[in-house]
Amino acid sequence: MSFNYEQSFTIQGGNFTDAGEVSVFIKKTLQKMGIPSEILRRVAIATYESEINIISYAKAGVIYIRVTPENIIINIDDEGPGIENIELAMRAGYSTADEKIREMGFGAGMGIPNIINCSDDFTLTSEVSKGTHLKIIINISTN
């Protein structure tokens, strides 16, 4: 099966109402393409947590996804406060979430650790007062 797809999605910061919409769309699209369910799950976690992060903390962000026969590449770029301490952000349980985010059921500090857990390759860079960039690669392979 030959996979070939790419698309960009813009997400508005603070738009909690539509949170998850992009991830649902991506999942359905990839599902129709025949991507195996284990991979779909990992993509879902990566995109959903990223979407929530953009909405929770940034002014706006872009999720770009590219599917090739070998792998799925997800680039996330946001315009926002950036992450002050990347090492802390990568720790399970560390959260800077406010009450609104916690009430939604997020903000447990598992977003980035969960994304890392799903990635075969993961890069995170950030500049305070500018924004954050994540690159996630998930391999589509027969192990």
């Binding site: 976690i45 990568m90 650790p113």
Partner: protein, 125 residues
């Protein structure tokens, strides 16, 4: 068992999905933290939760969760119900607390489920 049976066991109300009650479920996952649902809930399970925002519906859709059971008599806002209708995910509501809801379902043979996703080396404090 079907959602009909679940409704009986939990004395539940149907908020969305009156036409899907024949659906079979065998497993359940309870959570109020959506990150955990994303990471651990198995496709085809019931999601038991006290959260009522649209996120529970989107999360369920992404994970192919069979149906949502709201506990403690919670009633979801319109936007959640509309989304559930659109994404075809039944929502039930029971007056029991999450502990008792879990207990009653467990007693009747529903099993817990934990999906293993990705690698296992969580970075932890």
């Amino acid at each position: 068992m079907t959602l009909f049976d679940i409704i009986d066991i939990l004395d539940a109300k149907v908020l969305v999905g009156r036409d899907r009650l024949n659906m079979e479920v065998k497993t359940a996952f309870s959570a109020d933290l959506l990150s955990d649902v994303l990471a651990f809930a198995k496709a085809g399970s019931l999601l038991l939760t006290g959260l009522t925002n649209p996120q529970i519906v989107r999360t369920s859709s992404i994970l192919d969760i069979a149906a949502i059971v709201l506990v403690r008599g919670k009633v979801a806002p319109d936007e959640t119900l509309r989304l559930a209708d659109e994404l075809d995910i039944p929502i039930l509501s029971t007056r029991y607390i999450l502990f008792e809801t879990s207990g009653r379902l467990y007693e009747h043979g529903i099993k817990g489920c934990v999906e293993k996703v990705g690698r296992d080396d969580y970075v932890s404090l």
